[in-house]
Amino acid sequence: MDIWITGLGLVSASGEGRAAHLAALAGSAPAPTDAESHAPFPLHPAPALELDRQIPKKGDQRQMEPWQRLGTYAAGLALDDAGARALVGEMDLIVAAGGGERDLALDESVLAALAGLPRAEAATQLNALLAGGLRPTLFLAQLSNLLAGNISIVHGVTGASRTFMGEEQAGADAVRIAAARLAEGRGQAALVGGAFVAARWDLMVLYHSAGLLRQGGFAPVFSRAEAPGAIPGTLGAFLVLETAESARARGARGLARIMGVACEQARRDAADGSAAAATRAFARLALPEAPLTVLSGATGVAGPVAAERDFLAGLGRDITLRAAGSRLGWGVEASFPASLALGALMLAEGVLPPALEEAEAPLDAPPTDLLVTGFGAWRGEALAHLRAIPAEDQP
């Protein structure tokens, strides 16, 4: 069965919605970068959002922290963009989630009070400080599946609901499984995506422990040899996937056709390499035998960037690259859905994004097929094949 992307909800440092991201694609200025607030780690900050437009009840806004608000907001944008509000009652919802914000001030004050105490005494005091200091609503704002819960409550999306965890790969598997369910006839539409807030020390401590973050200023993802690493980018990215039959029946135009999504996860050791895993995934797609346009999800982390280069070289094709990560930053769970959203925009509008670095050769004609890649910063190799929808197939 034919699966279309009929709507996208995209929020990044460049702004929100189709127009802001078409402009970002067509321009050559990097996304707004904040190199100060979380120095030495640069990030792409959140744009100003008028939350009331997608989360009208203040009570709902109060029950969330920025991560859930961003995701709930982007999900609403996608529903509006697809004109799919009437479908929400039976719409599938698959969210790729991280965890919500911790109370940093509480963490810091607890550590300041207890770090110098003997372990046993610290453990006893920890109970008292947490029992007195934790806010009940913060638990719900932290729970991973409560982004989906909030989307159900605020937007009324109440079909199947699943939340995947697993950094970038969760976003890829979310799209893969949502598309597979529609393709086998389980439902007519699905809302799929994720959200990521960049300005969060509670996540940076985790990512930095594995050496995933770039230090210094902005550089495009393939030009970071002097300081490899990802630049976190605030990102809300939701897609409405729909069977072509459903879209045509309600007169909704598709942005792109999802021809296939394939995911692998290598251990990235000598026996189980990342490039080989991506090659296995590629074999499950059916890209036409022709020069290939690739919208890369490269993070800027050295290992996966090298693996992706090896994988693409091994295809033995004429390849033109564009990097979503240079334009949006690293949005972890939201990255793969955001790459698909950018790719769908490129195909629907015939945009030719200018090159941002040497690795990006000139594009002379709008592609009809796009290979979207997602090599996770730590693990995960994901690929998708998008195809433009010819005018005669649109309603």
Binding site: A112, L114, A128, A148, M165, G166, W201, V205, A210
Partner: protein, 441 residues
């Protein structure tokens, strides 16, 4: 796909060719269960767990893993791991991974698939994990005597990749995938208290759509630690019957006062019936149907009209090609919170009317194993079919007039058990129901 030459039994592809009897009422491959593994506060392994459950044993006890001073609730179901006997308690991520691996080893051995690579993907239901207090204290020690601030803590994590490997979401699935040789990308799912059922459902669907012949479905949780306990306490969700641990979990009983946090893991080896039969595996039962429906009512409460829960139950029964009259036993969500049990009673009456089948709550004995519960309770449902025995709801002292169902009070019971409906209702409104049945004849 290779094209068949029409002669049966000639090649490996032929062996697996589904017969009409291997397909369900919707023409999908029937999904068999060929191995089960269990870890709960009642013990390690299926045999120990099932015997304790039928005997009506409670696994709830006073918490000894960490100090309980200043806590409103000081009891839980806990699994003490052998490696913790002489060392510090594990944090959540390694605890979840360890129990998941134990359950998977048992299930794979039973299925006759131990030792080699598993011929399908991993579908893992697990809790959200994060950097925990022992890690933060370690970082603060590294920062001392400088003042503690997150920036300093972050810089102190430089070159500590094992922190990432014990606190990032991907790491549990990656370890299990490597250990059991599962195929493709492992999927980790969370739907709060329905997580374990969602993991099974993901595996079932992958087999039904022909993506794989087998899937390893696991639900695991190991988050009995101070912060998680306090968070649930602050929502007033937990029983505070601290002086009576074994009597604290009282689903469907008049004096129920909340759930009891617990932990554990269950694994089901799922295979298409044709794949299982072709390799001569014993069929323990089938996952005959799955249904879900999410609620848009409230973040922690189901709609009191039960509408989403009713739809999830009906969807599962319909997906199984059955009618309510075909269900002989319901394995309850049955948390022991006043609201849940009342709402589940209401939903049962809406779905089954006057002729509601018996329903019992395993949580009366093992507590609420959260992300594991859907998988653990599916495993117990299959054992109920195997042995034609209904596990009880213990601590049933004073009936609640608002609960009008046969809850199999206190004592297990022999019964004719054909199809079992297993309910899982999650915080955040994610409801999943499974229908488990015996081997098709």
């Amino acid at each position: 796909m290779k094209v068949s030459d029409g002669r049966r039994g000639e090649g490996p592809g032929e062996l697996n060719r589904p017969q009409q009897s291997d397909l369900d009422h919707r023409g999908r491959p029937i999904v068999a269960v060929t191995g089960i593994g269990l870890v709960t506060p009642l013990g390690f392994g299926v045999a120990a767990n099932w015997a304790a459950l039928l005997a009506g044993t409670s696994g709830i006890r006073r918490i000894t893993r960490f100090p309980t001073d200043h806590l409103r609730t000081t009891i839980a179901g806990t699994v003490d791991l052998p490696e913790e006997a002489d060392g510090p308690a594990l944090t959540a991520t390694p605890r979840v991974a360890r129990m998941a691996a134990m359950a998977a080893e048992e299930a794979l051995a039973e299925a006759g698939l131990g030792g080699g690579d598993f011929p399908g993907p991993l579908m893992l239901g697990m809790p959200p994990v994060e950097v925990e207090w022992p890690h933060r204290f370690e970082l603060a020690r590294r920062v001392a005597p400088e003042p503690v601030a997150y920036k300093a803590l972050t810089l102190a994590a430089t070159g500590w990749p094992t922190l990432y490997e014990t606190a990032a979401f991907q790491t549990v699935g990656e370890q299990l995938a490597a250990r059991f040789g599962t195929r493709g990308s492992p999927v980790s799912v969370t739907t709060a208290c329905a997580t374990g059922a969602s993991a099974i459902q993901l595996g079932v669907e992958a087999i039904q759509r022909g993506e794989t012949e087998a899937a390893l479905a696991i639900g695991a949780d190991g988050t009995v630690q101070p912060e998680a306990l306090i968070r649930f306490s602050l929502l007033s969700a937990l029983s505070t019957r601290n002086d009576d641990p074994t009597g604290a979990s009282r689903p469907f009983e008049k004096n129920r006062g909340g759930f009891v946090m617990s932990e554990g893991a269950a694994c089901l080896v799922l295979e298409s019936l044709s794949h299982a039969r072709a390799r001569g595996a014993s069929i323990l039962g089938v996952v005959r149907g799955a249904g879900e429906k999410s609620d848009s009512f409230h973040r922690t409460r189901s709609n009191p009209d039960g509408s989403a829960v009713i739809r999830a139950m009906r969807n599962a029964i319909e997906d199984a090609g059955l009618t309510p009259a075909d269900i002989s036993y319901v394995n309850a969500h049955g948390t022991g919170t006043p609201e849940n049990d009342k709402m589940e009673n209401l939903a049962m009456r809406a779905v089954f009317g006057e002729a509601a089948p018996p329903i019992s709550s395993n949580k009366s004995m093992i507590g609420h194993t959260l992300s594991a519960s859907g998988a653990i309770e599916a495993a117990f449902s299959l054992l109920a079919i195997r042995d034609q025995m209904l596990p009880p709801t213990i601590n049933h002292v004073e009936p609640d007039p608002a609960i009008t169902l046969d809850v199999v009070p206190n004592v297990s019971r022999a019964a004719k058990v054909g199809n079992v409906l297993s309910n899982s209702f999650g915080f955040g409104g994610q409801n999943v129901c499974l229908v488990l049945s015996g081997e098709p004849t």
